[in-house]
Amino acid sequence: MLLPLAGLVARVEWDQFWTLVTSEASLTALGLSLRTALAATGLTVALGVPLGFVLHGMRGPARGLVRAVVLAPLVLPPVVGGLALLYAFGRRGLLGEELGGSIAFTTLAVVIAQTFVAMPFMVVSVESALASRTGRHEAIAATLGASRTRVLARVTMPALAPALATGAVLAFARALGEFGATLTFAGSLAGVTRTAPLEIYLARETDPAAAAALSLVLVAVAIGVVALAYRPVRGAR
């Protein structure tokens, strides 16, 4: 586990580290990565939470099927995911006409690609958190006169908060590291779609030192994020 990390650290040229990380190309790529990953996380919450509820509410074989489809991006090769997105949203894709031209190779495409691959984390988090609830608190809340909306907002959602946080952090980390689907669906346009992983891949040939430095930044972010996500959940029984 540690060996690749050690290899990476060994390759970083520390006297140049700061200059390399703050070079214009690196900063642009990092900034784009942060913005798109945050947007993708937002979308993941907005779409993944309802999807988790729907999945939890389903019964029978349909549930397994829908779950498999929703979780597919988790096991799909990212390039295949990118191709699929291209055929759906690209200029000649299914929705190309309706969307008034192509959204492929735009920043929006980056966000969509990241959301696509990060969504399963949120859906799984929400669904398993819901599965572990007995419905007891919701039932008692109803006897106290609460409407369905109030029960959801005041009882169910607060109880899901830890699962939501975990799902969001994991989704963010996955979005930040997205490479294959982004490259296929959004390309590698500096400042528009070239996120940090793409920048690293590109720099690998021409400027290995810069690639190593930028990689280390992503490693630090990834480790930080996972440490944050796996804090033990406290309180709720």
Binding site: R136, A139, A141, T143, L144, G145, S147, R154, A236, R237
Partner: protein, 341 residues
């Protein structure tokens, strides 16, 4: 009639029971664990789907959702909302019914004070003791101003001191309130009940005023729940003659030939082992030990027909299957067993 009338069936859990509580009265529903008491309460509260009829003050609640029934349920697990402060838990009902934030908070503080927990509003449910959590749950249920309050084993799982403190609190709070309290402890029935119903395997087998059900149970099961031993037989000239021919002089009772019974507290029954001298002042019935049940510093010896509370030292020499005699003092009041409720 005014009050609550339920005739409900929850097929999946084998419950089909009828009960009625007059307005302002407290019904104690006695039954062992697993007899369906909780299910019946949940069906009345509307959180478990049930077939049948339910009316409150003459209006049908069939098809009315839990939210609009205004029937409060205090469940055994308290079910306090762990993500809210104690105050917000209690204020939940008033808020749900449309009270302003300030009014709901005031109501919550008022109820916390009434259950003796003033000043604990900022705590989280996880920071409370078992007794405190139970009190918060009671305050939360009552703050929602229910028309009927259902309490499921409200003293279970509490230590002796907080159970008796909570029992006294509940007795005060239930005055003039329509309520159903489930318990497997006859003590709760004596302390709280206006009326008593006895539940066995999903059915209500006995139902009536507390004094009648507790002092004159009509089935051995109801007698056991009321912590009494029911001795049954036929009246013959001022005596009860049991099935095995033992003649117990009694007072009162129906006319000759009628089926009758006496309900005796196990503490008032003596035990003699086979061959031991038997007190001639008592009437003795031959029996065999079925079970020996420790109860604090006493032991209840169960036979086929009777039971007796004896000192632990006496019970130590008794084993299941031993032949014993149960001695009853003559003169217990007899009552007819064939009449209706």
């Amino acid at each position: 009639m005014s009050g609550l009338v339920a005739d409900l069936a929850v097929e999946a859990r084998g419950v089909a029971a009828e009960l009625a509580v007059g307005a302002g009265r407290t019904l104690v529903l006695l039954g062992p664990n697993g007899s369906g008491k909780s299910t019946l309460l949940e069906a009345i509260a509307g959180i478990v789907p049930a077939a049948g009829a339910l009316t409150l003050d003459g209006a049908s609640l069939t098809g009315v959702g839990a939210r609009d029934r205004r029937i409060g349920l205090l469940s055994q697990d308290d079910a306090l909302f762990p993500t809210m402060s104690v105050r917000d838990n209690v204020a939940f009902g008033p808020r749900a019914r449309g009270a302003s934030r300030a009014d709901a908070k005031a109501a919550a503080e008022d109820w916390l004070a009434r259950v003796g927990l003033a000043g604990l509003g900022d705590r989280r449910p996880g920071e409370l003791s078992g007794g405190q959590a139970r009190r918060v749950a009671i305050a939360r249920a009552l703050a929602a101003e229910p028309r009927v309050l259902l309490l499921d084993e409200p003293f279970a799982g509490l230590d002796v001191a907080s159970a008796s403190a909570t029992r006294a609190l509940v007795a005060t709070l239930l005055a003039d309130r329509t309520a159903v309290v489930t318990t497997h402890d006859a003590l709760d029935a004596h302390a709280l009940a206006d009326d008593v119903a006895v539940m066995e395997a999903g059915r209500v087998v006995e139902h009536g005023p507390a004094a009648a059900v507790l002092a004159r149970p009509r089935t051995p099961f109801a007698a056991r729940m009321a912590a009494r031993v029911l001795v049954t037989g036929t009246m013959h000239g001022g005596a009860l003659v049991t099935g095995s021919g033992v003649r117990i002089p009694v007072t009162g009772g129906p006319g000759a030939g009628a089926a009758a019974g006496i309900a005796v507290h196990p503490a008032a029954i003596a035990v003699a082992r086979d061959g031991e001298p038997r007190d001639p002042a008592r009437v003795w019935m031959d029996d065999a030990v079925v079970a020996v049940e420790p109860r604090g510093d006493e032991v209840r010896v169960h036979g086929r027909d009777a039971a007796a509370d004896v000192d632990a030292a006496v019970a130590a020499v008794l084993g299941v299957g031993d032949v014993v005699g149960f001695g009853v003092e003559p003169g217990a009041p007899a009552y007819a067993l064939t009449s209706g409720r």
